[in-house]
Structures are given as C-alpha cells and as structure tokens.
C-alpha cells in the first residue's frame, strides 16, 4: 500500500465529511488489532469453535480423473457456519465492533450470504442489525432473507437504481451517515473506502494461510494455479493473499460473463474491456460505467458477482500482471455446477461455480504432477430456487405449484 489507503493507483477513501471522524476511529482500532497478536489468536479461536475452521481442502479425485490433467483440490469455504467465506470477515469485524463499543451493525448484501453472516454475528454478539438488500436480490435469494429475519435482523429491500448490490451499498452508507455514533457498517467485501479493502482482505487471508499448509501436506509443493470467483473480490483476496509472493503460483480471478461479454449483459470489470477507472462508493477502481461516469446495469446469474466495481487491491494486482482475469458465462456455470454435483457430490454456490468453470478449462492443459486449487467460496443450497429454475427441474416445479396452492387455499 502506497499513499494512505492506495494500492498502486487504486483505493483511497472518498467519503463524506460526516464520516471522517468515525473513519479515524476505525483506522486507529483496526491498526491496534492488526498489531496485536492476541487479537488474531482470539479471531482464529472464535472461527474454530463457532465456525468450522480450518475448512478442509478436498481432493477432487473423480474430477481430476475426468479431466486427466492437474490434480484438482477444492478449498471448502462452504463448510463455514452460514455456508460461505463471508463468515470470516464478519466475525472478525464483530470482534472489532465489540472493541469499539458500538451497539448496532448494518450491512449490504447481494447474494444474501454476507447479510446472513452479519445477522448471525449480530445475534451472537447481541447487536441490533439492519441489512440492506436490492429488491431484485431479495426476490432471487428468498431463503437467505428468511433466515436473516429469523435471526432477528431487519431486512430492507432497496428499490433505487438497479436494485442490486451497489444500490444496497449506497443505502447502507445513507444509514451510516445518519446513525454514525452507535453504528458500525460491516462492509462485506474488499471494496469501499480505506480501511475496508485492507481489513476485509486481512480477515479473509485465513483461507490462503490454511490452504498453503494443506496443499504442502497433501501435494508436497505449491499449486500451479489457484482459481477464485470475483464479485467484489473478498474470497479471491482471501485465498490469493498468502500466495502472492509465491512467484510460481498463477492466480486466476473469474468474473461473471453473464450472457456473454459481447452482449453487454455481464459483470466483467477486469477480464473484458468495458470497464474504465472511476470513483464511486468511496473508492477508486475499474467500474462498468458510461462515458459520463454513470454506472451501468450489470448481469449475472449469481447475485454475489453482479456488481459494477471490483476490489482496488485486485485492480492493482491486475495492472501489475500478478492476477489473470477470465470470465464464465451463466450457461457455462450451470454445466460446471452440474458436473461437480455428479462427480463429487459437492454443491458449489453459483458464484463459486464460476471458478470451477475456468479450472475445468485449464486442468487438461496441466499434468498430474501439478495441483490446482479452486476456492469454493460458498455452498449452493441457498440458490435452490435459482438453480432448480435454471435446470427447469420438473419435480421441483411440481412441488412449488402444490405448495403454492396449499398456501393460497389456507390464506
């Protein structure tokens, strides 16, 4: 990191004055935690007793044989409590909030995993909790909304703009500037104003720290390549961070190709050529925007990747050539998900399935002496409505119709 909060040309803290003081306090407290080994120890302890850390690194024997190239390993972030890597960041920030003495947390959420994790953390630590979620995502991710509400959180559907993640972020900021004294904004990804990119990457780096040890144990040396999906970029930064100094490890970020890059209906910031430098949501990065600087609509089958910006840390690593970016289309994602379920009995989230697509494309180019790691950021159970819909599954449809009838008759 160069200038305050900058990673090369990217990052910064473009915040309204009303938040200045709270960011000063947040920076001070974060620095204190970062320099306190006891804090990290407390964090790891919490994650191993409340969540499921260390998460396993699963050898995908059948998929490896199927592709006949590299040995495929899957880092199982789906086995975290609440079913995704999001818990890592949220529990870490929860400890920070306790130290700061604030009593209320708010968060944005796309796929609902970050919202769910935040609602869980709030329940455990006794904080009041409000989650902002785009109306479009509320519709797509109904099961997560249900659990957040059951956990005691208030879920506010956001009806501004494109009604997705970026709009939920704007709305969360509006809440924050209003209730800044008592409230902490649990930012969900490695984006937003400094210190969030650095802080979230720090908490998520636990993924890569574990994966490095595990791959050495199982494979005896560093992997050839690591694949991770990239929305904001938190699971990718989480697994990549430890491996950045390992020159022989190729790091591959996979963005949402949606209906295809040439259709305009996608969310590829770094793998396509549609994005340009901009400043929004508190930070400078590559945004999908028009020539005036207005943000564009994005599209992905995966709500968690449906975002206009991307981590400033990843923009820097992209610019320096340390991370390669690719994209996967919605239909490729469904095929990879199907294959993974059939071959390994594992259900990756639609977001995570993007990483599987690219890994499957590249595994055959490598040899059995090479290992690759796919970061499985979350589990697909939450996507049951979307996945069943995309597979056009007849027995599921039948179930929904019958249940719907039952409900409408008993109203």
């Amino acid at each position: 990191m160069d200038r305050k909060g900058f990673f090369g040309n990217w990052g910064g803290a473009y915040i309204p004055e009303v938040l200045h003081q709270t960011f000063e306090e947040l920076n001070t407290e974060f620095l204190r935690c970062k320099n306190d080994p006891a804090f990290w120890q407390e964090y790891v302890e919490l994650m191993s007793t409340y969540s499921c850390r260390p998460t396993p690194l699963t050898y995908a024997e059948n998929l490896s044989r199927h592709f006949g190239g590299a040995q495929i390993y899957i880092k199982r972030e789906d086995l975290n409590h609440t079913g995704a890597h999001k818990a890592n960041n949220v529990m870490g920030q929860g400890l920070l909030v306790k130290r700061m003495g604030k009593k209320r947390v708010i968060a944005e959420t796309g796929a609902g995993q970050h919202g769910l994790a935040t609602a869980t953390m709030a329940a455990k630590f006794g904080f009041a909790c409000t989650i902002y979620m785009g109306e479009e995502d509320v519709r797509r991710q109904r099961p997560n909304v249900f659990w957040m509400e059951k956990m005691g959180a208030t879920v506010v559907p956001v009806t501004n703009g494109s009604r997705t993640l970026k709009d939920a972020i704007n709305e969360a900021f509006r809440d924050w500037v209003t209730n800044v004294d008592e409230t902490h904004y649990v930012f969900g990804t490695v984006c937003g104003p400094h210190p969030f990119p650095e802080m979230v990457a720090w908490f998520q780096s636990i993924i890569g720290l574990e994966a490095a040890e595990q791959i050495m144990k199982y494979h005896g040396r560093m992997p050839a390549r690591i694949f991770a999906c990239v929305g904001g970029g938190s699971n990718a930064m989480g697994i990549f961070k430890r491996f950045i100094p390992e020159g022989g490890v190729e790091l591959v970020g996979v963005e949402a190709g949606g209906h295809g890059i040439d259709t305009g209906l996608h969310a590829t910031r770094l793998s396509g050529s549609d994005a340009s430098p901009g400043v929004a949501q508190g930070y400078k990065t590559m945004f999908l925007q028009d020539e005036d600087g207005q943000m564009k609509e994005t599209h992905s089958v995966a709500a968690g990747l449906d975002y206009v910006g991307v981590s400033p840390i990843l923009s820097d690593l992209w610019e320096k050539g340390r991370v390669r970016f690719e994209s996967a289309t919605d239909s490729e994602v469904m095929a990879a998900l199907d294959l993974t379920m059939k071959k390994e009995g594992i259900i990756p989230a639609l977001e995570s399935s993007h990483a599987f697509v690219q890994a499957f494309k590249e595994a055959p180019q490598l040899t059995p002496a090479d290992a690759i790691i796919i970061n499985m950021s979350g589990r697909g159970d939450k996507d049951i409505f979307t996945i069943a819909h995309a597979f056009n599954d007849p027995s599921w449809k039948d179930f929904i119709i019958k249940r719907g009838l039952e409900y409408s008759q008993n109203k």
Partner: protein, 254 residues
C-alpha cells in the same frame, strides 16, 4: 467578482441569504429553466445545480429519485454544462455546480474546471471528495477561480474544521445534522452550539443545509449563519404543485 465577495455584497442588504438547489434535467431542463427564473425573481442569492449521478450516496430519497429520473430522461453532462452557461448568462446571481466526484473525474479534472469557468460557474460542491483525496482538484479550482466549497459536519472536530477551512473558498457548507438530505432539521441548542464552533473555525460565510424547509427554519438561522440552503423542499414543491409554486414559496421564506 469572486464568490465570497459577491455573497458579502448581498449580505450588506440582507440578514440572511438563500441558496437553492436544483437537479439538472429533473423533471426536465425546460422546468429547470422556469424554476430558476422564479427563484431569481423572488430574491434567491445563489443556486447550486446538481449534475445528476447514478450513485448519489449523500442524498436522501427525494434527490435520489430526481437524479435517477434525470438520467432515465437522458440528461448528459454535456447538456448540464450547456444549460449552466445559459443560466449564468441570463441571471445575475452566482451559480454553483454540485455533483459527485466521479462526474468530474471521468470528464477530466482539468477539462471540467476549464469548462465550468467558461460556463460562468463560481463554485463547486463535491460531497464525496475530502481534501485528502482532492489535491489536484483543489489546485485546479483555484487556478480557474472557481471556489471549492468545503463541508463541515456536526461530527467534525474543531481541528478538522480548521483543516477543512484552509482548503476552501467562497463559503463553508455546514451540514446541519447527521444523515442525508431531505429530512427536517430542528434548529435547536445543539445546532446553535455547532454553528458557533463553525464560526470560530473560519472567517468565511457559513451556509447551512440539510432539512431547511420553511420560514421558521430560515429565521432561526439569522445571526447564526449567513445563508440558508433549501434543497429537497423545492423539488417536492415542483413535484406536487408545479414550477409556478416556487416563486411564492421562495418569497415567503424571508
């Protein structure tokens, strides 16, 4: 004439000045034109024209919706600049731009300030650009004799206010309370104490905005600030009663 001198000149005749806010292109440039005419004819001293942005983070529901609809109606930055040039040529009060930093950044800071100067703009308000991130922005504003308006908030410490004031020109925009635009503010003891701190931190005129909605609010600021800012309230008025209602509303504020 520089913005601060212009405001000081007006303050010789008035107890408190009025600044109003419009969102360019909402509901249309045609209506903007009429609203501005009514504002100027009824004694408004300064107008901030917001160039719409798709992510107006510091604004409340009324202005958020206005931004969105202006963009949906096809308002472009180039249209806003052309309209601004027309307004400054037609009316003899200072006009400012208010927008978010990405609009300036994407246009190019240098080109933006040169163009704004050409359009006769006297100041700019960019709520998501703290001075720490605005070194070249502030420099270019000065070079083009456009006042960069900095913002004080109730959460700003005394030291912070002094730091902010050292980078600003024209006047200081004092946000009356925590939160976003468009929610009524009560000018109570807490605000008075805060404005006292603002006054100590700078010799520049103080404008107070966020939730200033009626004559009582404006009256309450006399002697404590130099300019009252009416934002969301006129947008609401135009939505409900049309542009013709703006004149009488403004006339009734002082």
């Amino acid at each position: 004439m520089q913005l601060e001198q212009q405001l000081r000149h007006s303050l010789e005749k008035k107890e408190i000045l009025l600044m109003t806010h419009i969102v360019l292109g909402y509901p249309s440039f045609e209506v903007n034109r009429e609203v501005i005419r009514q504002m100027v004819e009824n004694g408004v001293d300064c107008i901030e024209m917001q160039i719409p942005f798709s992510e107006p983070m510091a604004d409340g529901p009324v202005i958020v919706r206005a931004n969105q609809e202006a963009l949906d109606n096809g308002a472009k930055v180039a249209d806003c600049l052309a309209f601004a040039a027309e307004m400054t040529a037609s009316h003899d009060i200072p006009f400012l731009f208010m927008t978010y930093y990405n609009i300036v950044f994407k246009y190019g800071e240098k080109s933006f300030f040169e163009k704004a100067r050409e359009c006769g703009i006297k100041g700019v308000i960019v709520p998501d650009l703290p001075p720490e991130e605005g070194e070249s922005f502030l420099q270019l504003a000065m070079e083009n004799e456009i006042a960069p308006i900095l913002i004080f908030a109730p959460t700003s410490t005394d030291e912070r206010m002094q730091e902010l004031a050292s980078h600003g020109k024209g006047f200081i925009y004092c946000v009356a309370r925590r939160g976003v635009t468009g929610v009524k503010s009560v000018i109570g003891a807490e605000v008075v104490e805060y404005l006292g701190r603002c006054r100590k931190a700078t010799g520049m005129p103080l404008a107070v905005g966020f939730g200033i909605q009626d004559r009582d609010d404006v009256n309450a600021l006399i002697g404590k600030a130099d300019m009252a800012v009416i934002g969301s309230q006129t947008i609401r008025l135009v939505d409900e009663k049309g542009a013709a209602a703006v004149g009488p509303f403004i006339a009734g504020l002082r």
